[in-house]
Amino acid sequence: MFTAAGFAKTWEYITLFKQGLICTVALSLLTVIFGFILALVLAVMRLSDIRPLRFLALTPDGHLREQGFLTLLSRFNPVSFLATVYVEIFRATPMLVQLFIIYYVVLGDVDFPSYKLFGFIRFDRFVPGVVALAMNSGAYLSEIIRAGIQSIDGGQTEAARSLGLSQVQNMRFIILPQAIKNILPPIANEFVTIIKESSICYTIGVQEIMYAVTSTKGATYRIAEPLVVATVVYFCLTFPTSKIIAYFERRMSVGDKRNGGDGKPKKARMKIRQASILRSQGGPEGFSFHAGGEKEE
């Protein structure tokens, strides 16, 4: 199965793996940046309170209707609805299908410059890869962020607003700093997932690590040894990443507490952590950020 000669042959193509490593890191970093921005926008959209049909809930004399069809209509929030549709579609369809649709259909007719990133990464393959990965992980990350924002006690907002802080200032100084702390573990999880899932981009010819494997295989007729190298490289990427984020999480947890302090432990946080563990084990649903199906390959 594995032979020394096989590894020696594979070693001749180590440059491909080095390039693959750089490409995978670039792909994952850009994905997590754009994915996070997209996720923030989606989360804010889903938590927004925009109801253009609000007036339907009022009777002609200005009182609130008790219930009925008009009350239901009045609760319609088009912004939140759009975001929900986006998230559900991206979570319910395979990543590979999304990637192909974006590469062949959406960006199929776009003429990318023949520019090569770092001298070897083909722009016309790389950009669709980033777009697809970011759009996909944005859907997942937005659910994590939404849960994180909702886990902050409402009293925090009330205190901030009563001090005269605007809604935006409240988000920026009070809610998000606390929410980020809560959602760091699942975000770390998601980042690691992105690194691993970026391997799917070799199907559209992005020169990342799996692309190096297939190229080496084509040249050497060896498959086991290149795969071992790829496994080691992926592990060396993902394992330190999760450890680094765990370190920052510990450092940020100073003074952490919910509810302004009536002695409750870090319940909200433990819940979120549990949820992320459950997800990575494909565990039961219920309190899960990714309720509605595991992430497809």
Binding site: H63, A159, R161
Partner: protein
């Protein structure tokens, strides 16, 4: 316009088409220097009323005139008769609020808790804001805890910080929503002492509380609410020694 600092007229908060009336036509005037204590059984609408004053609850009817501006309206006419937007954030700055559960920001030090709003909202520079905060902390005996996080403080200390955090914005009126209800009994006194001191300095205060001793001793007006209605209003002597309304008599017989 009016002489009163806050003029509440026929304030209503209805749910389910009036099936539930949290507030059912409350009218009251609050003058500068008033220490108004609101008492009543739970579910009587005391907290809803207090929270309506800075629009943490949006009333469904009635008006609240604060400094001559109806803050329940989205727009108002300014001196030139032009329609301008009512900026609720601006009015909230003038109303400090203290909550039952303190609601300190757990990710910030005590000092940062106190300087955040002065710096971000009032655009004070950091040095001035910190000096002011330290002075305020000294007043409640907590100057040495400025660098601590809320989790490191006792309940009484947290509530004292919450009070001076609100004071740092130099409000015209302080609203207290059951400030001692979440405290261990031995810590109630330290918080009430701060409030008494504040009242003695002439701060306008509206206090929802179950501390009848405080209401009697510090309040200059006592309001009794039940079922979303203001049933009786008077001086502490009137209310506690000569209650008129049967609901009030019943309530006092239970709590005193």
């Amino acid at each position: 316009m009016s002489q009163h600092l806050i003029q509440v007229t026929d304030l209503k908060k209805h749910y389910n088409r009036g099936a539930i009336k949290a507030l059912d036509g409350v009218s009251v005037n609050i003058d500068r220097g008033d220490v108004m204590v609101i008492i009543g059984p739970s579910g009587s609408g005391k907290s809803t009323f207090l929270r309506s004053l800075n629009l943490l609850e949006e009333p469904t009817g009635g008006s609240i005139m604060f400094d001559g501006i109806d803050i329940t309206k989205k727009k108002t006419r300014n001196a030139d008769g032009k329609l301008v937007k009512v900026d609720i954030d601006q009015h909230r700055q003038k109303m400090g609020m203290v909550f039952q559960h303190f609601n300190l920001f757990p990710h910030m030090t005590i000092l940062d808790n106190m300087t955040l709003a002065p710096i971000q909202v009032k655009h004070m520079n950091r040095a001035a804001a910190e000096e002011k905060a330290l002075n305020l902390l000294a007043r409640v005996g907590l100057q040495d805890r400025a660098g601590a996080y809320p989790i490191q403080l006792s309940g009484g200390q947290k509530q004292r910080v919450a009070i001076v955090r609100a004071l740092a914005m130099e409000p015209e009126v302080m609203l207290f929503d059951e400030p001692t209800s979440a405290l261990d009994p031995e810590m109630v006194g330290e918080v009430l002492d701060v409030m008494k001191e504040l009242a003695a300095e002439g701060m306008t205060m509206v206090v929802v509380t179950h501390e009848m001793g405080f209401a009697r001793e510090v309040g200059n007006r006592v309001l009794f609410m039940a079922d979303g209605k203001l049933l009786e209003e008077g001086t502490p002597e009137d209310i506690f020694t000569n209650p008129q309304h049967p609901r009030l008599q019943d309530f006092l017989s239970k709590v005193l």
